[in-house]
């Protein structure tokens, strides 16, 4: 099967083209650096199937970044039958720099000029014949987004792949050309493939070439001794780069006919510039970002949309008296789209569980262990976790829209100003914001950070950016707090918790960058993409990817955890079923570890059933969704304890009628006697503690040897100290705990400040000794 490689600059539309050619669902984003590995797919519309390889976006074939190494190695070593070089029509000159390097390789090249729709909309025209004549390879105009001319492109590429092509250069510097020619002959003598490319790279003093062909280095070094350029001295790499750009600007300007602006249009900025003036404003930019983020949370989690609750005080809930009561609105207000979807799934699942439970009880008899196992141990937890899926998808739909329109790239730009003060560049913000989706790809993205200390700091704080898996914890506990303690809106609590994660990340970075991981922030250069409307297909790809991962996880690891938790909470050490959860294996383990969490507000100060919080915190290490799944699995078992008279009988009724996460949390709050401060500390602990196994494995792979163990320690210490501080600080707002909370909080602040000064002092001392 023939193989065509897609190569081009970051954010020029390679992945969109790849998806449209192969019908794949690879992640597409409107910011540079989305593709960090090569992907394979098959194009089937030609006489024979063609394997398409989507290479990471690169600016050159010099080994400055891992993406450049991967792309270069693929083209040189794997020898594709054709390279389709995608260039952005709106940034032609910069994109052709890479083209000039690809042309030096002995491989058929076809240039696909993408984003023609944007170029034509601006009134500009491109003559592909001029471009093709100057480059010496076929040129096809396309629009990957609108899927126009893609079949022509593949036909041209197929035709090009049927003949051999020798590399060609656009370097016309007389002396350098002479040297390149000599080195090329030497490479040919050594039977090296692609001699022109290797020769130019060796002359450029390319890191890989100089390592691989040390024997040819004296040839270049001798030349350098007699060579001196007026502007660049003996920096041959700079001279060659200049040569390329000079050739491109001289020869390709004719290919584009720019739209003649009317006199009054001269001063006008384009639409993107005008939007940027507001969205990237020094002050308003940040406020707009905070407002947008709040709106996203409001539309996803609010049970009081647009805060119209007051108008609904005497209104009858929607679908009153049915299983879907309160689906669209309640007396608290209108539900947001996220809550409507959540309610729909949750109410449907509750109906299924009730029906299954009823059928099993009539068949097997009341109180049969199988009913408890299937309804409480398997279905409740599984359905409760699946019930969160619509809300997660709504949240990620908003995030995907922000990403696809190009706004996220602006957010990185806005935050660069702030992050720089803390010792990180805006570049570090990109992996952090990816952490809102999943920590694994976010940690991998830190490879783009050149400074090792900046990379370690970023990896350590990525788990603080609440990922999708932590969402059920936030929603259920926030729902429990709102219901039990009468705290305003769930969306406000959830939004605050996301902000808490960001604040802790900033404080942690500040601490790390001024103590153990010192260093200056690297300059942040990022091309801001044009704003465009998000593509429906691309949004659906994002959501499908998220849903697939979530459902797969629910039916494997979470279901398995549920079964194990049910078993451990139903059996004692003598392998007999126990009447009370307190006597179970899980109960005894929970009570053993419970004191560890006392300073955090959910330890020994709770009632004897309070160990459930300790167990939930630990099961969350397997998968974060397990925290709420644990509550749900143990919720029904807690009924026995509730019957002892510690809990409002109304809650017992609610628990029996409805198996949603919030009710289970409310049950636990009532049964354990935990305070709202303890609940928030519990969320904080789960936000800050060691991430799931997959994220830990990725962190270990990404960090240099010997660093991972300190990273684990950092997570443990941060989660314990952070949650303790949150608990003590919030306890100052309660009259019952004011007396001890003030001195303890002050001592914690004092210890924090003291330790920073101590580490700084020790570091300075070390430098002086050195």
């Amino acid at each position: 099967m023939k193989r065509f490689a897609l190569a081009g600059n970051p954010n020029c539309g390679k992945t969109t083209l790849f998806n449209n050619l192969t019908g794949s669902t690879a992640h597409v984003g409107n910011w540079p650096g989305v593709t960090v590995e090569k992907k394979n797919g098959v194009y089937k519309k030609l006489s024979e199937p063609i394997s398409i390889i989507d290479l990471p976006g690169i600016y050159s074939l010099s080994p400055y970044t891992s993406e450049e190494v991967v792309s270069r190695n693929y083209i040189l070593d794997e020898k594709p039958d054709c390279v389709i070089n995608i260039v952005d029509a709106t940034n032609l000159e910069r994109n052709l720099y890479l083209t000039s390097q690809l042309l030096e390789i002995d491989v058929p090249v076809v240039v696909a000029v993408n984003m023609m729709d944007v170029l034509e909309k601006a009134g500009d025209k491109l003559d592909e014949k001029i471009l093709s004549d100057r480059l010496g390879v076929p040129v096809v105009k396309i629009s990957a987004l609108e899927e126009s001319n893609l079949e022509d492109l593949m036909k041209v590429a197929f035709k090009a792949s049927q003949s051999h092509r020798d590399g060609s250069s656009i370097i016309y510097h007389k002396d350098l050309n002479h040297l390149i020619g000599d080195v090329k002959i030497a490479f040919k003598g050594k039977n090296v493939e692609n001699p022109l490319f290797h020769a130019i790279k060796l002359v450029e003093n390319d890191e890989i070439e100089t390592k691989m062909h040390e024997d040819l280095l004296p040839m270049v070094d001798d030349f350098k001794k007699t060579f001196n350029d007026e502007t660049f001295g003996d920096d041959i790499e700079a001279i060659i780069a200049d040569e390329r750009y000079q050739y491109i600007s001289k020869n390709f300007a004719k290919a584009i006919t720019r739209h003649e602006p009317k006199p009054d249009e001269n001063q006008k900025e384009n639409k993107s510039d005008r939007i940027d003036k507001v969205l990237t404003h020094k002050v308003f930019g940040l406020l707009i970002f905070a407002a947008i983020l709040f709106l996203v949370f409001h539309f996803t989690f609010s049970e009081n949309l647009f805060f119209l609750g007051g108008l609904f005080e005497d209104v009858v809930p929607s679908f009153e008296g049915t299983m879907y009561e309160g689906l669209f609105w309640t007396d608290a207000g209108i539900n947001s789209p996220g809550v409507i979807l959540f309610n729909f799934f949750d109410m449907s699942f509750s109906g299924i569980i009730e029906a299954v439970g009823g059928a099993m009880e009539s068949g097997l008899g009341e109180g049969h262990w199988l009913t408890g196992f299937l309804c409480d141990g398997v279905l409740s937890g599984l359905f409760a976790i699946l019930g969160f899926l619509p809300q997660i998808l709504v949240l990620f739909l908003f995030f995907s829209i922000m990403e696809d329109t190009g706004y996220m790239a602006r957010v990185a730009f806005i935050l660069d100003r702030i992050f720089r003060k803390f010792g990180l560049s805006g570049r570090a913000f990109i992996p952090m914001i990816m952490g809102f989706g999943c920590s694994v790809p976010a940690m991998v993205n830190t490879r783009t950070l050149a400074d090792e200390n900046e990379k370690i700091s970023t990896i350590r704080v990525i788990p603080f950016f609440s990922c999708g898996a932590k969402l059920p914890i936030l929603v259920a506990i926030a729902g429990g707090i709102a219901e039990q303690f009468g705290f305003g809106n769930v969306d406000l609590i959830t939004y605050s918790m996301y902000c808490l994660g960001i604040i802790v990340a900033i404080v942690a970075v500040l601490f790390l960058r001024h103590t153990t991981l010192k260093g200056d922030a690297a300059p942040f250069i990022m091309e801001l993409p044009q704003y465009h409307w998000p593509q429906f297909k691309s949004l659906m790809i994002h959501l499908w990817d998220k849903a697939k991962h979530f459902v797969k996880k629910a039916f494997t690891i979470i279901l398995a955890s549920q079964i194990v938790i049910w078993f451990l909470s139903s059996f004692g050490w003598n392998w007999h079923m126990v009447d009370s959860m307190q006597d179970s294996i899980l109960g005894s383990i929970g009570m053993l570890i419970q004191p560890i969490f006392t300073p955090l507000g959910f330890g020994s100060q709770l009632t004897s059933i309070g160990w459930v919080f300790a167990v939930a915190a630990i099961t969350g290490l397997i998968a974060k969704e397990d925290v709420i799944a644990t509550f749900i699995a143990l919720g029904a078992a807690a009924v026995a304890y509730i019957n002892s008279g510690n809990v409002d009988p109304a809650i017992l009724e609610a628990l029996e009628a409805d198996e949603e996460g919030v009710t289970a949390v409310v049950t636990m709050i009532q049964a354990s006697g935990i305070t709202w401060q303890g609940c928030i500390s519990f969320i904080a602990f789960n936000m800050l503690t060691i991430p799931c196994f997959a994220a830990c494995a990725t962190a270990k792979a990404e960090l240099k040897e010997g660093t991972f163990k300190w990273t684990l320690l950092f997570w443990i210490v941060t989660s314990l100290l952070g949650s303790t501080f949150v608990y003590c600080f919030l306890s100052m707002f309660s009259a019952d705990s004011l007396a001890w909370a003030i001195p303890v909080t002050l001592v914690l602040i004092g210890l924090g400040v003291g330790s920073i000064f101590l580490i700084r002092y020790l570091n300075n001392k070390k430098v002086k000794v050195a």
Partner: protein
């Protein structure tokens, strides 16, 4: 448990099915660990990133 002869076969069936499911999940996990394959939620991402890193470190060995 296992006291009612009428429901005994269902109970045994559920226990066997549960054990098979748990063994499969744990077995797949152990297999992946032994063969150093990616495990967890983002196994695909992890797998591809690991390959990328391998290629990168081949060119630029870890210090």
């Amino acid at each position: 448990m296992f006291t009612n002869p009428d429901t005994l076969w269902i109970e045994i069936l559920v226990v066997i099915a549960t054990l098979i499911f748990l063994s499969a999940v744990i077995g797949v996990y152990i297999y992946k660990r032994v063969h150093q394959l990616p495990t967890g939620d983002c196994a695909y991402c992890h797998k591809s990133k690991k390959q990328l890193l391998k290629e990168f470190y081949k060119e630029f060995p870890k210090q």
